[in-house]
Subunit: 168 residues, 2 copies
């Protein structure tokens, strides 16, 4: 099941093909986009591997942790979607699973009949804390890059996200 190790960088090979076809001005962009896809898959797999024994996925972990950081441990679903930058239906899906596991509760919004407040439970708080501890130790403290490269990566991706309109 595990993909065997290649003897060459497949993305560098793709960039070579791009240049050989006369697409020099697109080769670096193609390599950047493809590299982002693969790097994300690597990190997501590592995070999910850490979280699986806890019964969490990275997506649900993010939502749970976001809730734990709020003043009252609750957010309207639309607000959670905006902060996590995902489609509202992804929040619906995550909340349904978190609720089934007893980690969050849905409550009507006191001031807005349309909105639903997602409220983290005590059990949810405990699990979020444990999950963060494990993720910090296994992934975030050793992401496979030296500190200067790490800062460069975060900085470049911040520019990219800003340019894409994620934030002002």
């Amino acid at each position: 099941m595990t993909t065997p190790v290649l003897r060459f960088d497949p993305i560098a090979e793709a960039a070579r093909q791009w240049r050989a076809h006369g697409w020099q001005d697109a080769a670096d962009g193609m390599a950047a986009v493809t590299s982002l896809m693969r790097a994300q898959a690597i990190m997501l797999a590592r995070a999910d591997e850490v979280l699986r024994p806890l019964g969490l996925s990275f997506a649900r972990y993010e939502l749970l942790t976001l809730l734990s950081f709020t003043r009252h441990g609750a957010l309207p679903m639309a607000r959670a979607g905006a902060l996590l930058q995902v489609h509202p239906t992804s929040i619906t899906s995550a909340v349904r699973r978190l609720e089934r596991a007893g980690l969050v509760r849905r409550e009507p919004h006191p001031d807005d009949g349309r909105a639903v407040l997602v409220h983290i439970t005590g059990e949810g708080r405990e699990l979020a804390e444990a999950a963060t501890k494990e993720l910090n130790a296994a992934l975030f403290c050793r992401p496979g890059l030296a500190p200067p490269q790490l800062e460069t990566l975060v900085s470049v991706l911040r520019d990219l996200r800003r340019d894409a309109g994620d934030f002002a």
Copy 2:
């Protein structure tokens, strides 16, 4: 449907929370992993937007283009999975949809009764070429980063992929 623009960087805010909780040594790694997730989502959405009118997704585009670069326009499914660094069942899924669209054909491997050769059709070649032209113009030639930053990104992610064991 479109997520509203935030007035602040949600990932920088998350990093601030990390530091406030005493997880300084994990804050940058958290920011890097989360940034990768979001940057990939941005690029995937852009690519899929370009490809949707052509009836393709980025995953199927990648497979189709890979086939078009091979000597005989064909690859065993396992080889395609190794080169694209995805699970074999993802290839099965992509091939099924590409085959239904008449863009590839399955053929028995002449030397190995277990293997299936995926062969790109003439129609598949034409669509791959058209799709590359559009992706180059709309995305790969203007990925939203200046050239030096682009090269830096590709370089850092190459280190990350190598460290993760993607290639020797």
